[in-house]
């Protein structure tokens, strides 16, 4: 983890409300593990003080990139920044995905919307190729299919309006795949990043078919380094539960550890 002022190499529109931001960060880039995030201070934001967390999409020897959606004043201001502008970044942060071992389980990746970006490094660094299931509302919400195809991964898309791939939720083709290979089911491991309802559905599928699953949780965050205790989720602890930090113990959690409904 380093805090640095870094320069924007590129900040360009991908599709619709999605942008690709490339940052020159030669000291940070080599440290990045799949599933980690960068905590970004958007300096032109004067009265909105807090940093914004973004999953890291790609990393080279001296740059890393972020694929983000404009959803509020922070990301709107970020989208107006240009190559040469500077951002303050704390990265890489958080506990990421376990990279599959060679000859181990076949990774099935499940992504919703810009959650797709958080899965790319995992796919790239996995010696074991698998399938990535990606879902979104419309065609424009299905991101970076080309990048996954370029590294030899099969992509199966689902859109809610049916404009691309299968019509419906991403968990439908995922469940179909698991059912097809039920005899070899112990060879699958699920990895997911996306909206919480999707993660919950993936967690339930994993439970139902007794598959290991790692879920990258998307929680409102403040400090990003474990001090403020904003981004906590309930996690099993003995025969009870406790709040753990998405920024530090997560964002990636073992699906079996997550408590979806607190009963008090």
């Amino acid at each position: 983890m380093l805090e640095q002022t870094v320069t924007i190499v590129a900040n360009e529109r991908d599709t619709d409300q999605y942008f690709r931001l490339v940052l020159r960060a030669p000291q940070i880039a080599p440290l990045i593990q799949p599933g980690q995030f960068a905590h970004v201070r958007i300096l032109p934001l004067k009265d909105a003080l807090l940093r914004r967390p973004f999953s890291i999409f790609q990393a080279t020897a001296d740059t890393f990139s972020i694929l983000y959606k404009t959803v509020g004043k922070g990301t709107d201001a970020l989208a107006r920044m240009r190559a040469g502008d500077e951002l303050s970044v704390i990265a890489p942060l958080g506990h990421g995905f376990t990279v599959p071992a060679a000859g181990g389980e076949t990774p099935l990746l499940v992504a919703g919307g810009y959650g797709m970006a958080a899965m790319f490094l995992l796919a790239q660094r996995s010696p074991q190729k698998g399938i990535v299931f990606v879902g979104g509302r419309r065609r424009v919400d299905i991101l970076c299919e080309k990048e996954f195809a370029a590294i030899g991964w099969e992509v199966r898309a689902a859109t809610e309006d049916g404009s691309h791939g299968e019509k419906g939720l991403v968990t439908q083709p995922l469940q179909a795949e698991i059912r097809n290979f039920k005899s070899q089911i112990s060879n699958f491991k699920l990895f997911a990043c996306g909206p919480t309802p999707m993660l919950k559905a993936v967690g339930k599928l994993a439970e139902e078919y007794n598959l290991p699953a790692e879920l990258s949780m998307d929680e409102h965050m403040c400090c990003g380094v474990g001090t403020c205790l904003t981004c906590v989720i309930p996690v099993k602890a003995g025969d009870s539960w406790e709040y753990q930090r998405t920024c530090t113990e997560g964002p990636v959690f073992d699906a079996r550890e997550i408590v979806w409904e607190i009963t008090k």
Binding site: E3, D47, C228
Partner: protein
């Protein structure tokens, strides 16, 4: 303290979290998040919300309890060259005293900060900080069980901070921390729901600074003991303003969350200001605001 800059309780975890980003040994002291006797689960989420030039929080003092803190965090804090200020709280006067006694027995603690001003818990906290009698009872009970310096962290939500400041001083407090967060609320207009699960929370950040400056000024007029000023400090200019209002030291709070280098920048900035203004002792700045002559 080697310099007059610490961090505000609750904005710096237990120190270790920031050790990889800043050199903690350059601080005047490390102040840790509030601890009561037993572990605390904390409030449901969302626990914080960004507001204009500030933020709301209602964390609910999630924490490991005295034993958990000593086991998990104390070995690291003890190894630092700078003192640790431990923020303590309870739901009864007896619990405050018991936590104070435990930390007195631990040895090596720099000071205890009595949190009588957290707005986000149902029992304890602010109820002790807004009533002169209860406040005096908490301070006196802790005073009886420890020789450690006691810092009373004051609530801003009082009609006359001078009276409470005096009550804390008279009961044996060695210093005051002014101020805790301001009770506040924000609503999401699209969902019509409060932005915090706790409905209300405490406002911190630059938005509260001028109000905190006035509270420090008023408290300083009422007591002789030193005051640690805090509330929205982002840079050395802000810190110097607190000193001029009457503070002897300052704490950086919310700024740690977005710019972890702030405490060190404040230390450097105060030093530069003193050189430029030919001030040899930082204590000369304390209370040096020049009021118009009547």
């Amino acid at each position: 303290m080697q310099n007059p800059v610490t961090v505000a309780s609750g904005t710096f975890g237990y120190g270790a979290e920031y050790a990889r980003l800043i050199d903690l040994n350059q601080l005047g002291a490390v102040t840790v998040k509030g601890i009561r006797l037993n572990p605390v689960l904390g409030n449901p989420t969302p626990r914080t919300a960004e507001t204009t030039s500030g933020m709301l929080n209602a964390i609910g003092l999630q924490g490991p309890g005295v034993d958990g803190f000593i086991k998990k965090y104390w070995p690291f804090l003890k190894s630092l060259k700078v003192p640790t200020i431990i923020n303590i709280w309870g739901t009864t006067v007896e619990e405050y005293a018991e936590v104070a006694r435990r930390f007195d027995a631990l040895g090596g603690v720099g000071a205890l900060e009595l949190n009588v001003s957290c707005p986000n818990i149902k029992a304890g906290g602010a109820q002790f900080g807004t009533d002169c009698n209860l406040l005096a009872q908490v301070v006196a009970a802790c005073r009886q069980v420890t020789t450690l310096p006691l810092i009373t962290k004051m609530s801003p939500n009082v009609p006359n901070i001078g009276q409470l400041a005096k009550a804390a001083e008279d009961a044996g407090s060695d210093a005051l921390a002014v101020t805790n967060s301001f009770p506040a609320m924000a609503i999401d207009i699209h969902t019509r729901k409060p932005k915090l699960a706790n409905i209300t929370g405490g406002l911190t950040g630059p938005a509260i600074k001028p109000i905190a400056i006035k509270l420090v000024w008023e408290a300083a007029k009422a007591v002789k003991i030193p005051i640690i000023g805090m509330g929205g400090i982002q840079n050395a200019d802000d810190a110097i303003e607190f000193l001029m209002a009457g503070a002897t030291a300052v704490a950086v709070g919310t700024a740690n969350f977005y710019e972890p280098q702030t405490p060190l920048q404040v230390i450097d900035g105060i030093r530069n200001f003193m050189e430029r203004k030919k001030i040899s002792d930082v204590r000369e700045i304390t209370g040096s605001v020049q009021l118009p002559k009547k």
